[in-house]
């Protein structure tokens, strides 16, 4: 994704989040909120900000635990959000209680594997593994 596209997606996602939160949109708040993630000239800043806004949107659109792990946190490769899946996941698991919902989703899938045949869970396991490495819980590969 080009930097400009990344900025556009961040803006659109921020707007959506304001709508989900039921608040009046104050565009002047956008840049300061992004700046909290770093220097606006860097790509990583925008990726982290977009991941954060995505994670909050996911929580606020009150999703069911199975789609959470099979789709929203684990987007298909051709979805633009795939590129910020790590940032989204990292932001999501920092939200208190969010891990419970992931656990619930995985429990349900493992509890009745026949209902979920064909679901691609590799993505979510890759995210968990990556997250564990970042935190020093697994040796760096």
């Amino acid at each position: 994704m080009k930097l400009q596209d990344l900025k556009d997606k961040t803006w659109e996602t921020w707007l959506m989040l304001q709508k989900f939160a039921g608040v009046v949109v104050q565009p002047e708040n956008f840049q300061p909120e992004v700046r909290a993630f770093g220097d606006l000239r860097y790509r990583d800043t925008w990726k982290r900000a977009l991941g954060h806004f995505m994670a909050l949107s996911i929580v606020r659109s009150v999703l069911e635990p199975v789609s959470l792990v099979t789709f929203y946190l684990n987007p298909p490769r051709d979805d633009w959000s795939w590129e910020v899946r790590r940032e989204t996941f990292e932001a999501y698991i920092r939200i208190p209680g969010a891990l419970d919902l992931i656990r619930e989703g995985l429990n349900e899938i493992f509890g009745s594997p026949s209902s979920y045949q064909g679901e691609d869970l590799n993505g979510i396991f890759e995210l968990v593994e990556n997250s564990a490495r970042v935190r020093g819980l697994l040796p760096r590969s």
């Binding site: 709508k19 039921g22 659109s61 009150v62 069911e64 939200i95 208190p96 209680g97």
Partner: protein
């Protein structure tokens, strides 16, 4: 606030799963999730995905459906009913809504799934696809709302 206004006029009853006596609204832990609600939500999610909704399209369409059915989103409603709903609470708040609200959402999601499956959605342009899916779900929400008591 359509649902909320109606709900405030309803007498308290066991039916609405009030566990804590003397409280006007159930707390986050006192409501029971409706059986089948997760399945309906999951099936609708799959239908949206099959019709080409991307991540944000699916979230937007879901928000439109909830707003049509309840008068505001499930998240907002949960916050109105429980001022102490945090982000954690929000993650679980679909289980904390009053039973009639959960029923409305369940009915709406089932209807939306069939409506969407029977709708031709062009998949050339992502924004256009998202908008068509959102429009279909908005309409399903409107139709469902007609036979709900609020």
């Amino acid at each position: 606030m359509a649902f909320l206004n109606w709900w405030k006029t309803q007498p308290e009853s066991e039916d609405y799963s009030l566990e804590v006596k003397g409280k006007l609204f159930p707390t986050a832990t006192s409501s029971q999730p409706l059986a089948g609600a997760d399945t309906a939500r999951k099936d609708l999610g799959r239908a949206m995905h099959d019709k080409g909704a991307d991540m944000r399209g699916a979230m937007d369409a879901n928000h439109a459906l909830e707003t049509e059915i309840l008068g505001n989103s499930a998240y907002e409603l949960a916050r109105e009913l429980n001022s102490d709903v945090t982000e954690r609470g929000a993650a679980m708040s679909h289980r904390a809504l009053p039973k009639p609200a959960q029923e409305g959402l369940l009915a709406g999601r089932i209807r939306a799934k069939y409506d969407l499956q029977g709708t031709e959605i062009a998949q050339d342009d992502q924004t256009e696809t998202n908008q068509q899916i959102e429009a279909s779900m908005r309409q399903s929400g409107r139709e469902t709302r007609k036979w709900l008591p609020w």
